[in-house]
Symmetry: C2
């Protein structure tokens, strides 16, 4: 008797009938509107409980013009950095009663704009995480995505907060650290070409090079995962560098693993640094020197910025800039006498 109508699910109408009131009144009660007689309210509530009535969020969303959901677009859900951001975002949003819809672009930048648009239409706001699309495209679609928060990317479009990690500064800190240990031949294991954070690292390295013209910095092709690092052993050894700046911790770990297999001692023969300070970094052997990025905090901050936008607080879209903190562990040590390029 309880379930009726097309969908089979019980709706506001069922409660209204059971309580002997109009569905408008049921709605008022369910939303805590106090202009309703306490007796009737109690009757409605009883009916709702008895029928296990739960308002249909879709109908609610349509009427209210909001979904209590936000979207996040990431280039690769397998990347610990994005996982951490997602986690921080999800946690912070949940505390305010918002849910998170995820969209993984799988590193195909051409999909990003479509994914972002679709996600945005279903949500009250969007976090665009390190988008790989071009500046031009980003600038073009950004306004239509508002409320929007960018992570590790900036745009000229107005009213869009950007949360960026200062990868340039971080990589300089790491390089300075290595130089301070006496290393004069460094190598940088590059990241994905499209990534803005990679660009920032390159800029940082350029700044470093002009400041230390005597230091030799070899650029090596790369990627962002374990296998990249593991596969980079030969080029690294061939470079003759004694201090290696890996694109991130994953690459560093892969590299250390590969070096270990070859019997190369870290940090005795070669020092290796990572980037990000993922949780694993303090448990590698040797523990990994890296630049710590307060990544979970970033997710939380992204939510706060987005929330301000959604609530239309005039907030001036400030955004923030995060300084990585040098985390010196055991994978970096004093340079030994310069090696010759050939090895093994």
């Amino acid at each position: 008797m309880a379930r009726k109508s097309a969908t089979g699910r019980i709706g506001i109408a069922d409660v209204a009938v059971k309580a002997g009131v109009s569905h408008a009144t049921v709605s008022r009660v369910m939303n805590g509107n106090f202009t309703v007689d306490p007796d009737i309210a109690a009757r409605v509530r009883a009916a709702a409980v008895e029928l296990k009535y739960q308002p249909n969020p879709v109908g609610r969303s349509l009427a209210l013009g909001k979904t209590d959901t936000i979207g996040i677009v990431v280039p690769d859900l397998a990347n610990p950095t994005f996982q951490a951001i997602l986690r921080g975002l999800s946690r912070a949003a949940a505390e305010d009663g918002y849910r998170v819809l995820i969209a993984d672009s799988f590193e195909v930048s051409s999909e990003e704009a479509i994914l972002a648009g679709e996600a945005r239409r279903r949500c009250d706001g969007l976090v665009l995480c390190a988008p790989r699309m071009s500046d031009a495209e980003l600038e073009e679609i950004a306004p239509s995505l508002h409320p929007l928060v960018l992570i590790n990317r900036t745009t000229a479009a107005a009213g869009i907060p950007s949360l960026v990690v200062d990868y340039g500064q971080g990589v300089q800190d790491l390089a300075e650290h290595l130089v301070g240990l006496g290393h004069t031949r460094l190598a940088f294991l590059a990241g994905p070409a499209g990534s803005a954070s990679h660009g920032l690292r390159l800029e940082g390295l350029e700044a470093f090079k002009t400041r230390h013209p005597q230091v030799d910095v070899t650029m090596l092709d790369g990627g962002s995962d374990f296998d990249t690092g593991h596969g980079a052993v030969d080029p690294v050894l061939a470079s003759g560098a004694t201090g290696i700046l890996a694109f991130n911790d994953l690459v560093a770990m892969g590299l250390m693993s590969g070096l270990h297999e070859r019997g190369v001692d870290v940090p005795g023969d070669i020092s290796v640094t990572g980037f990000d300070d993922i949780p694993f970094a303090r448990y590698t052997t040797p523990t990994l020197t890296t630049a710590a990025v307060p990544i979970a905090e970033l997710g939380g901050q992204a939510w706060r910025e987005l929330r301000a936008l959604i609530r239309k607080e005039d907030h001036d879209a400030p955004g923030s800039r995060y300084q990585p903190r040098l985390e010196i562990r055991a994978s970096s040590g004093p340079a030994k006498a310069p090696r010759t390029a050939a090895h093994g």
Copy 2:
């Protein structure tokens, strides 16, 4: 002139006006209904493009009774296992045009039922991942969550596919492996008490113990993360065990790291095994012997089961059972002469 109405966004009505037709016709065109005159269809399409019209998914969902979204509830988004499942699920669902809404219960089992209900109402189906709630509660809410797929949990409720990993078998395989290496004193680092997968491991260990009454198996308290393993060094050494079955790879890595700091050689002094074969497992020092769970595949399979349910294909809710595969690496080796309990 284009944007109008309350929301400010352009809707089907704007396109209808611009094309000089009714909004019903616009809807027909947008949905590829061919009963509309090609000329008019073209005019509508042109208007839609010009206005950059994109149908509002909320209105669409209400009319269609579906959201093209599925939900997943996980106990802890920080856990690599759940991240991998999420990733596999997201990827598979995306290929069929579905999005994923995530709900993280942060290991508070009392929240799970509410989160699951809320998520389900916004979605066309739900994946409940290793729920920590009691069997009774699960059985009670399961019917109301349909279409529902369970991961690493089963229920007596009907029509609910379950995808379970045979942790019991896996832990037995690992234990057998250690015994085969000559170890006679083992220790098991337990996981979260509420976790069903932990229960399965215990059952497996019981079976193992009845088969090998001469082998000593010490049970140690635990958890599921790095720090658990790292903090378990003392109890492990005190146990006198030479073969350690860690709850999962994270715990194993934490333990190895702690043992390393104490100067205990792995596998020379103590063999350590993990569980899951997370990507990091092959890059630890030493590389980690573990039981590989095809976890990403699990996410994909979860989607296929859920899709069958959503499409009402009669599918008999088969579910699947996944056998972990023993992955023997360098963290396990021959037992050396029995040690005394005291150490360091």
